[in-house]
């Protein structure tokens, strides 16, 4: 069972306290109605599936409840880093 560092609690906690919430740094367009069908499709459905470094969102569901970002290696399943929502991509 992986330990995940919650950047809000500043503690490493077992993964069963957390829930994955998909790829990170995909901002909802400020004006969805102004989006072309293609742009909106890309926002809704198109996701990266990298081998290696992956930026994803996690939520400390059974802890502080905060969403945060993480860099996880999809091959080794190791977390490189975690950081607060809103902070720049690492």
């Amino acid at each position: 069972m992986i330990l995940i560092h919650c950047p809000y609690c500043d503690e490493k906690r077992p993964e069963i306290e957390f829930a994955n919430a998909g790829q990170a740094h995909i901002a909802r367009p400020l004006d969805p109605s102004g989006q072309s069908d293609a742009d909106w499709e890309a926002y809704l459905f198109i996701r990266a599936n990298p081998r290696g470094r992956h930026h994803e969102r996690w939520r400390h569901t059974h802890g502080c409840g905060r969403f945060f970002n993480a860099v996880r290696d999809t091959v080794t399943d190791k977390f490189e880093t975690t950081y607060k929502a809103g902070e720049p991509r690492r």
Binding site: M1, L3, R28, P32, S33, W40, L44, G65, A85
Partner: protein, 953 residues
């Protein structure tokens, strides 16, 4: 002919005789014996029948790597454990053990005919042979194969034992308490580290238990570790898996060896998080591959030494040694020292360390270098062996009643591999050893390839002048895989060891190839003429040895498998005979049958009561979220399809929630209590999901909004009071709220008290009748419910359950998200476009409602169905077609989502999702069912009081 008890020696307690049973026969052993050593001491060599060929099999090993001697233990009803290794079962008075995979008896087994037909059972046999005809597989092949090729019987009765589990944390976890593990513990003992030392055997010592010269050291060391306050020692504990971040799973066997204890847990699952791990798992001796190497009486030479020195049992009166490694020589010297006559030492090498030869000479043991065993005589045991002199290519016979194999050593890297540590190949050892760690872990002793067993030759199989096609030289004893099978796999084109493994099943038995993987690799390497590292190594996966489901499940079984959520009113429903159903972990009353009523009759009565007088329903499971803050209305406006900003305090609104893809995900009625405070409700199953979704948008998309979300689902009990007499029941109990139709209209909320308890009183209806939903603090739920029951008695107030609730709402065409929608239904599809705020510039899912696929014609839309036969109730999920006479397979254009008998309407009603359904009003559709095709007219979804007159009274 075989094993016997030595006069002296061993760690057994000869003053404590133990009586046990094997296949119904009674034997004597001593305290400290394993089942294997005790049976061996009684001359038993035959322990089981092999998996595929039903060949007689005996002990190969003395530890948990044993591939052959799998037995079952019966501790009474529900306490039957198959597939235990006899080497790891401690005997006790009354132990009942049984051999497996034999019929009618171990010595006389009908399945042994498979052995004679062996030429018909090559690698891939099952895949190739039982392909045709297909219909034979279920009825003929599989039952026959299952009967013949099996391990122990699965237990049939429920397991009455209790299994414990615990979490543990330590700075240093040492796995394996042989000399290397004990040294590691002693070395760290004087630090302030919390240390856990675990070993699968019943006492610490590992390999030292078979070396009496180490016993004084062992005793001192065990005492020092036992006395150290910072060291926890777990014996009879198997570390079965090594997971991420130094998380180790281990099972401790607590009572199997102490049958007098029945009231404490049988086993305990340890989940250990360690700062640092030291693996001291040791090494496993490798068998040699030659014709007849699976005969009972052919075993590992290190095992013979364990039986002699640890258990005081000789494996034979005149065993011979077949070696490719020095360690076997040392083993038989140790046997000679305790009085076992060694008949011969045969070594495949042309020369060995001269000191070994001198010692053999001194002990009078004949030595045959550059020789190898090419045949073993005797069927249920060894009577003699045939050895080949390679220099003259001559075969001659040597008398022996057991044959010991010394093929070198395989570091036990199982847990290291679980932890994803990398391995490197060492040609000199013919083995993989740990290389780069992936966790904070290191290996010591035998499992690191560090040992003082001497040297040896690495050899795939012993050369033989015999016809290769006529010999059976086993690689995997448990799965009956021979060297020939592996060569056949290579001939048939398999190149990777992962494929060879799956085709031959080498290493895929319950022992995961502990004794067979490396020999299999060497044989494949020779056949492919490629070095071993180029062929790879198969992965080890947990568990290291098989563990019980009981230990893994722990208390999570039966009623404790998952929590059941109950409302404050649940106990009342229980006391009044409710039939329950589980809804998203909630236990909900489904209906309240009176004596003699079936579900149908009860539901009809409950529905009629609501429509004609008043019904009462426990709606406490509704999800509830309190939304508070200056931006609360703005937030809801962005989340829901409906407009919220203009909603006045004291009013309610039906909210429809979409996902960003435009599909309905939840709905519920919500109330504005104050400009900055809303009381949201969600579906019972959607509460957590909706809160998570709202938190997501609030935290990550709109962090500028000043809003707070709090789950209040469990803070309120909710009682729905529905029916024309609802107001009359409520009036005498409520204070501070004017209940008149003018002062308290439909879709309003008021705060006051009921029965003296604070309430948030909603005037809402999921039935189409005059209705109220009474929210009170959870603890008062049942008390208020009982007051309402008493007050409503004069109106024959009727408690109703979820089934009647479903019928009543369907009569009104109210959808249930997840039943009438399936994650691909838009508001328009569901006929809920009235709930969409057309003027709102944005809300979650709005942009998607203009996606090309969603505006395209032909989408499935929610419609009503009225069967032409009014008494026919369609099956929910039934498929719908436009033309019942079209050829099969028919084009299915939709399915029935809800279907009920409506006692109020005196006929059946149904809802369905049908492609283009909104344009089919009045048309006829068909529902083909086994034996009959039903027809139905398409209608709107509101079947009762379509103008809503009953609501506004």
């Amino acid at each position: 002919m075989s094993g016997f008890r030595l006069e002296t020696g061993g760690r057994i307690d000869r003053s404590q005789s133990v009586q046990f049973h094997f296949d119904g026969k009674t034997y004597q052993g001593f305290a400290g014996d394993s089942l294997a050593s005790a049976l061996l001491a009684n001359g038993v060599m035959l322990f089981g029948r092999s998996f595929k060929y039903h060949r007689p099999r005996g002990l190969v090993a003395a530890g948990s790597e044993e591939p052959n001697a799998l037995i079952s233990v019966n501790r009474g009803p529900g306490r039957f454990t198959p597939n235990l290794r006899a080497t790891g079962v401690e005997i006790h008075d009354g132990l009942k053990a049984f051999s497996q995979n034999r019929w009618p008896s171990l010595a006389m087994d009908f399945g042994a005919i498979n052995d004679r037909l062996g030429m018909f059972f090559p690698a891939g046999f099952y895949n190739k042979t039982f392909m045709w005809p297909r219909s034979f597989w279920d009825r003929v092949y599989e039952p026959a194969i299952r009967k013949m090729a099996g391990l122990g019987d699965a237990p049939t009765a429920e397991d009455p034992d209790v299994y414990a589990s615990t979490y543990a944390h330590c700075d240093l976890l040492i796995i394996g308490a042989g000399p290397a593990g004990i040294d590691a513990a002693l070395g760290a003992m004087d630090t302030n580290k919390r240390i856990v030392l675990i070993d699968e055997q019943n006492e610490l010592g590992g390999g030292a238990l078979a070396d009496p010269t180490l016993w004084p050291w062992l005793e001192r060391s065990v005492k020092a570790l036992t006395d150290a306050a910072n060291v926890t020692i777990l014996t009879r504990t198997t570390a079965f898996g090594y997971y991420h971040d130094n998380f180790i799973g281990a099972v401790q066997r607590l009572t199997d060896h102490r049958p007098e204890i029945t009231d404490t847990p049988r086993e305990k699952l340890w989940r250990i998080r360690a700062g640092e791990v030291v693996l001291a798992q040791g090494a496993i001796e490798r068998p040699l591959v030659f014709d007849g190497n699976d005969k009972p009486g052919v075993m590992l030479s290190s095992a013979a030494k364990v039986y002699a020195n640890r258990y005081g049992v000789a494996v034979g009166k005149a065993p011979a040694l077949m070696a490719s490694h020095d360690s076997g020589w040392h083993d038989v010297f140790a046997l000679a020292k305790v009085g076992v006559g060694i008949s011969a030492i045969i070594d495949v090498r042309e020369s060995v360390d001269s000191a070994l030869v001198h010692e053999a000479d001194r002990l009078g043991i004949p030595v045959y270098l550059n020789h190898a065993v090419v045949g073993v005589n005797g069927r249920h045991g060894v009577s003699s062996i045939d050895i080949c002199d390679y220099s003259h290519q001559r075969v001659h016979r040597v008398e022996a009643d057991a044959l010991l194999m010394a093929g070198g050593w395989t570091p036990s890297v199982h847990l290291w591999s679980h932890s994803k540590g990398s391995l490197k190949w060492r040609d000199d050892l013919g083995a993989y050893v740990p290389d780069v760690p992936n966790e904070n872990v290191h290996c010591v002793g035998g499992c690191s390839g560090d040992w003082d067993f001497g040297t040896g030759a690495v050899i795939d199989m012993l050369p033989t002048p015999k016809d290769q096609s006529r010999i059976k030289a086993f690689v995997d004893f448990q799965n009956d895989v021979t060297a020939k099978d592996i060569k056949l796999a290579v001939r048939e084109g398999f190149r990777s060891i992962e494929h060879i493994k799956r085709y031959t099943t080498n290493g895929m038995a319950t022992d995961q190839g502990k004794t067979s993987n490396l020999n299999g690799l060497q044989i494949a390497s020779s056949a492919l003429n490629k070095p071993v590292p180029d062929i790879g190594l198969t992965s080890f996966r947990p568990p290291y040895t098989p563990q019980t489901f009981g230990a893994l499940a722990g208390h999570a079984k039966g009623a404790l498998f998952q929590p059941t959520r109950t409302t404050n009113i649940d106990s009342w429903a229980q006391a009044h005979g409710a039939v329950f159903e589980l809804v998203a972990q909630w236990r909900r009353a489904r209906y309240f049958p009176k004596s003699g009523e079936d579900m149908h009759a009860a539901v009809n009565r409950e529905c009629v009561a609501v429509r004609s007088s008043v019904g009462i329903f426990d709606a406490s499971t509704l999800g509830k979220i309190e939304v508070v803050g200056p931006d609360a209305a703005e937030f809801l406006n962005r989340m829901y399809t409906n407009p919220w900003k203009a909603l006045e305090p004291g009013r309610c609104r039906y909210g429809l929630l979409l996902k960003e893809d435009g599909f309905i995900t939840d709905d519920g009625v919500s109330a504005r209590l104050a400009p900055d405070r809303f009381h949201l409700t969600t579906t019972t199953g959607g509460a957590a999901r909706v809160l998570n979704m709202m938190e997501d948008y609030l935290q990550t998309e709109w962090p500028d909004l000043d809003v707070w979300l709090t789950s209040t689902t469990e803070q309120y009990a909710v009682i729905a009071l529905q029916g024309p007499n609802a107001r009359k029941v409520l009036e005498p109990l409520v204070e501070g709220i004017d209940l008149s139709a003018e002062a308290f209209p439909h879709m309003a909320i008021r705060e006051g008290t009921i029965c003296g308890v604070e309430t948030r009183l909603f005037r809402v209806s999921f039935t189409g009748e005059l209705g109220f939903e009474i929210n009170v603090p959870t603890a008062y739920g049942r008390a208020v419910w009982e007051q309402l029951m008493a007050q409503g008695a004069q109106y024959d107030i009727t408690p109703y359950g979820t089934e009647a609730m479903h019928v009543l709402r369907a009569e009104k065409g109210f959808i249930i998200v997840g039943q009438d929608t399936d994650g691909t239904v838009t508001p328009f599809d569901a006929g809920l476009d009235w709930a969409v705020g057309k003027k709102k510039p944005d809300f979650v899912g709005k942009r998607s409602m203009a996606r090309p696929d969603i505006v395209a014609p032909g989408r499935k839309q929610l419609v009503g169905l009225l069967t032409d036969d009014p008494n026919l109730v369609l099956e929910e999920g039934a498929q719908i077609v436009a033309d019942p006479n079209q050829p099969i397979p028919m084009t299915m254009i939709g399915h029935v989502t809800s279907s009920y008998w409506s006692e109020t309407l005196g006929r059946s009603i149904a809802m369905a999702l049908v492609a283009g359904g909104h344009d089919m009003m009045g048309g006829t559709l068909y529902i083909p069912m086994p034996g009959k095709t039903h027809s139905a007219k398409v209608s709107g979804v509101v079947f009762y009081d379509s103008e809503g007159a009953r609501l506004h009274v």
